[in-house]
Symmetry: C2
Subunit: 379 residues, 2 copies
Amino acid sequence: MKRSNSEDATGADLDKKTIGLLESIAKRVRASIDSGSLPNLELPVRSLDNVKYEEAKGYFELGNARKVRTLTVNTARAFAQTLRLMATSRAMVEHDDFATKREVYYISKNWGDCRFDEQAESDAIMDDIEAMASMYGLSREQLRFYPESHGGSVAGRLTVVDRNPATGEAIEIDCANLGSGAYSIPRSVEHLSFRTDARFVLAIETGGMFQRLNNHRFWETARCIIVEMAGVPTRATRRFIRLLSDKQQLPVYCFVDCDPYGFANIYRTLKVGSGNAAQINRFLCVAQARFLGVTPQDIIDFGLEDATHPLAATDIKRAQDALHNDPFIKAHPEWVTAIKQLLQMGVRAEQQALAKWGLNYVIDEYLPQKLANESSFLP
Amino acid sequence: MKRSNSEDATGADLDKKTIGLLESIAKRVRASIDSGSLPNLELPVRSLDNVKYEEAKGYFELGNARKVRTLTVNTARAFAQTLRLMATSRAMVEHDDFATKREVYYISKNWGDCRFDEQAESDAIMDDIEAMASMYGLSREQLRFYPESHGGSVAGRLTVVDRNPATGEAIEIDCANLGSGAYSIPRSVEHLSFRTDARFVLAIETGGMFQRLNNHRFWETARCIIVEMAGVPTRATRRFIRLLSDKQQLPVYCFVDCDPYGFANIYRTLKVGSGNAAQINRFLCVAQARFLGVTPQDIIDFGLEDATHPLAATDIKRAQDALHNDPFIKAHPEWVTAIKQLLQMGVRAEQQALAKWGLNYVIDEYLPQKLANESSFLP
């Protein structure tokens, strides 16, 4: 096992940058107090008014509006909590540790009067700090605040290079050698690097389909990496796919159900993120992702009509919302056409509906046919 | 890599037994038809009336009541569906394939008049076949019907021996060498074998706690295997822990939140299963599991009083239900006492509440103290 120097350097650089940012803010607060003026913290406004869709970048981003949290009688508690959370972050970077959102809430139980009464309070302040750090290119994971949820499962032509946290030694995980099991993506992936000879990443909606492609080693012949999203992908899954695609210059193809939830929630979250959490999109969005299927046209082309389900009222509402209110959908005529086609057909189809033609039709026919015509993928 | 013969033999034996069972039933049906009498299928009754708690075995089990599905005009469709599903199972065993519940539903779309209209129909018939097979010691996974959900994450002193489905070659996965990631348990684990020098298995409720123990390599010094349950454990997680514990004679300790859901849902499901699915308990229950914590007494012993939450009405109802209606709880005075203590204290505590004393208090203090006194674990 040999130490992966370039990665360590990147990690150490980011840690230095994180501590530098936290210290510079703390110093400004301290200087205000020393000079007898009320200290303040400048934080990006996180409401939807301050979110814009950047078509060139391909995702929602925070605008320039700022709110200023000045120390007053009313803000004393939130002000102190913000500083204590920043100090917690600094200590975690220094000790190479981390805390989940829930743990952050509990840590405060020893903070006396500025303890958090509910996790909603600590989450809001964590979001403020995250938004501030994002302005400097630092993510919440770099502040060492980790999400509760791990990422999806991974298998295929990929070696993940991690490190032993105790010794710093490189640890190599061969995702082609996990049998019917898979690699479970950790909560933070910033420190990982990759080696691969894959041609693309296939992001899959359902666990059942992932297991099928993995058990039949689809990734071996198709020369790819398969990732299970298990519905709307978690932060860790999104960041993992993003880093993998960026670092290895791999295209990302999405294989999800043919329904408005698959288009406007699962695929859209992976690709362009959401307006509600615009501070994180620049780290998590996979702007290079494309939609392999299942498309409305696939229902016709692959004879799935009698394996469909009627669109429910919620499906129709979600589709109409996407057509009228979603800047991403509206920016892409191909998506407008596809969603209108689905509404006109009045049905939805799951990726597992392909089993109608036999369990492995998806491996023997559907995916090879689709992959032979990448230009037909939806944007 | 060398082929693991003993495991292959076991797998092949079970496959032979599965095909033997399916054929013997089919032959009886055929013989009835040939002799001019109406064929029938004898299936265990799956209602709660036919479930008993076996204290010696430590889990709920199906009783002896049987229902007979005779071929009539009214039952023709269900009868045909049962036989077709059995044929599907046979074909999957022969081709070393599998189907999720959802895929089974879709496969039927080519069955003409006996196609399933809804998945509830195919699930019910699958449960019937499963119950029938369970009488002969065969699980649903051996019939090759797999659950949608994969199992939890695993890390620690364990080598999982799987096989390459194409070549049969053994594949060894070293769960001590996955960095901050983990091994994701596949949907079926029947074909796995294990090598380990661990002293015990620690089954953990939350992903956040799992990540903490994994990142700090708790399993290295504590000489154990850690498994993330992520709430109520899935079938795959339960079967994995059961096989691991049985084959390697390892004790299983559970580390979950101190609340009625943690006791009566998460822990109880792992240990004794549920009455609603008694046909599967004999394969999935981990009767040897014991409850490490968090116990109501731990709240006092580890000074967590100010990191608790008041019991909600649903918590109190669940606790009362457990005390009055749950045969497992009623059979164990230690549990009755613990639940009464919790009700009297009026609060619940999460495992992450230990972070009040510092993020790694759980590693440095709590777990070592508990593990030094295994006899205090709840049954």
